[in-house]
Symmetry: C2
Subunit: 410 residues, 2 copies
């Protein structure tokens, strides 16, 4: 008999029928002998609907009020889930963030978890009850309701699993982690297991598989996270820390991202402090900068190129143009017809040959590389948006990802 | 500069436009120099919609879970109201029942207020903020969310006014207390003031003017309650304890109620304990019994007649039929084509002549009286449903209610 923390996303609880289906899954799991703590998101598009309501009132809703407003979404879904379990004869109780002891700092809309006081959850589990916990929300010492940021019910689940020393299972409409987007590469294969680090690189911006902060908490507290579909029965993907020898030094997946825009600042004076001067104002405006490329030149000036999300481009551009005037740089050019494609795998950065094979593959496919960036376990190329799907397919074939890892043949 | 607790009902906050209109009223009140604590109900039909959602899941939703579910309605409306005030440049903060310090017992769905700890509200008011409080809900010592019963945002407002030593104002789509239903009696007149006791009798079952428990709290703590429309500007009605000499010993209003069904138990043995035997099982089934008439007869048996709401008739009937068999009574007859009409006024019961004038008036109009019941300040007749509107008009004229009280001519 084990304790498992399950997480069900918004699509899994979108209506009464789906809530009843999830309740039946939980009932079966209880019957098999496990104790279950289930974290739920708000039903379907509830959070967006509540945000729209707030924006009918004012364009700039107060973040403290917004937190109370948005927290109601999970209060609705969690109580309905408890009722659905009661209807199946399963003892269950739902707990708000406050009741579940999820203490946060007081930064509304993006609070950080300070501590989880799990006494109430432990008491309910000991009494034989399934515990339903509202994701996404917590409470401050002053009883103020906080939310942890969009998509953070995953974080609630992993943090609870860490505190309760439980396994974490994340159920959604995505049935696991794939070597590439199956809609683009028909030979994409579901991975049986990935490391936390690989997961962070594979599930890049826009990935619906798992919220990155949740994976980071999993990494820090070494919580195994099983990702699977709540709609089908098949196997999912286990995210964990023990990378097997066989999957080391291999390309594990080809993530790509279309939500990319490129900004180039020409003829930047080549002197100390220039990068800080450019990126500090962008950080203050909450513009996330991704790939950055700068080449020092012999003539004392250089081109500085970086990428932002398409949604941030409009906000970033006037800031960058202002900076260009201040540092006496040249023109500012933008291009939103670009995309990112990467190869990801633990150890590939230190092993020779992977970058060369990636570049050769793209060259053979006639795809021009505009920028390159690397991390410990990832090599990323910026290419034109219209060629990125070709790039995914070419790389998937070149690195033989249609074949299972030896470790996964068991 | 006074402190006022205002209450806005569901129709007053039914959508963004109305919420903005209420915010503007509050802004104007602040600008006039008063401190405002505003209690809000859930938007429009939200509570019914949430109940319907729960019933999609199960026919018998757990009351603890239901309380959390229903409490979200006020959390939504109160945060939107705070945002609307912010948009007008007014400092405001919304507080849940828990944050407002509204402590209750743990009887879910119909909790009683144990205490209000007003420190947080006082602190926010002292800081110059308008405080928006969610009506209808509280919290137990164990941090369990409770609700006080349907329509109890009025109760929250009056209880807060009592604790804060403030005046209470109740704004809704009804603009005051009338001598009779204006849809039936075109000469019905709005009363400038009524006593708590008169209000309790005038606002009988189904009256949307003021929740009876709230009026009772007003009576006990002597909180003046001003009832007015949130849609129009005119004067409302003040409910208070100081009945003026001029309005004493006068009929003040003609309330009526169509939601009445009559149950008659024939040939009831006339022995001690029979009434308890009949009404205890009904109380256990939460059937509220209203007018009760029993006449002892010479033959050792009698007919026992009482009224219930139409909605309770189906539940009451099998219980009464079972009782009839147990006590060896005769047949059980029902009639749901009846209605109640009353005359209400402090002192009329002890003063001679009012009952006689009422009966004469109904006789002159050819309206048969089926049952009679009296309280300290009320005389009620059960008549046929199809004649009740005629009865209201005849009584309104007979007691000259189209003329203002001397006290109201000021």
């Amino acid at each position: 008999m084990a304790l498992v923390v399950q997480k069900y996303g918004g699509t899994s609880v979108a209506n009464a029928e789906r809530i009843r289906a999830v309740a039946e899954r939980i009932r079966a799991r209880r019957a098999a002998g496990d104790d279950v703590v289930a974290v739920v998101s708000a039903m379907g598009d509830t959070t967006d609907d509540l945000l729209a309501l707030a924006h009918q009132i004012t364009e700039t809703p107060n973040e403290r009020e917004l937190d109370i407003l948005l927290s109601t979404g999970e209060a609705v879904s969690m109580t309905l889930m408890a009722m659905a379990l009661h209807a199946l004869g399963v003892e269950a109780v739902s707990l708000t963030g406050a009741q579940a002891g999820l203490r946060t700092d007081s930064v509304h809309q993006r609070a950080r978890i300070l501590a989880i006081e799990p006494e109430r959850i432990r008491r309910e589990v000991a009494a034989g009850r399934v515990v339903i916990v509202s994701g996404f929300q917590g409470i401050t010492e002053e009883l103020e309701v906080t939310t942890l940021g969009r998509g953070t019910s995953d974080l609630t689940a992993v943090a609870l699993a860490a505190v309760l020393d439980a396994r974490c299972e994340r159920y959604t409409d995505v049935d696991g982690v794939y070597t590439a987007d199956p809609r683009i590469e028909p030979n994409a294969r579901k991975l049986k297991e990935v490391s936390y680090e690989e997961m962070l690189e594979l599930a890049s911006r826009g990935a619906r598989v798992m919220q990155p902060r949740a994976v980071e908490i999993g990494l820090v507290y070494n919580v195994p996270i099983y990702v699977a579909s709540s709609f089908t029965e098949g196997d999912g993907t286990l995210i964990h820390g023990g990378v097997t020898m066989e999957s080391f030094n291999r390309v594990r997946g080809i993530p790509h991202d279309m939500d990319v825009a490129k900004i180039t600042l020409r003829n930047v004076p080549d002197r100390p402090g220039i990068a800080a001067h450019v990126f500090e104002p962008l950080a203050e405006a909450h513009v996330s900068v991704d790939v950055i490329v700068q080449n020092a030149s012999a003539e004392g000036s250089t081109d500085l190129t970086f990428t932002v999300s398409k949604g941030d481009l409009g906000r970033a551009l006037p800031i960058v143009e202002q900076i260009a005037r201040e540092i006496d740089a040249g023109e500012v050019a933008t291009d939103d017809q670009v995309a990112k494609v990467s190869i990801v795998g633990t150890g590939i950065q230190s092993a020779p040959g992977f970058a060369a094979r990636m570049f050769r593959c793209l060259a053979d496919a006639g795809i021009n590389i505009e920028m390159v960036s690397t991390s410990e376990i990832r090599i990323t190329c910026i290419v034109s948006a219209e060629r990125v799907e070709d790039a995914v397919r070419a790389l998937h074939t070149a690195f033989e990802l249609e074949h299972a890892d030896p470790a996964e043949l068991a």
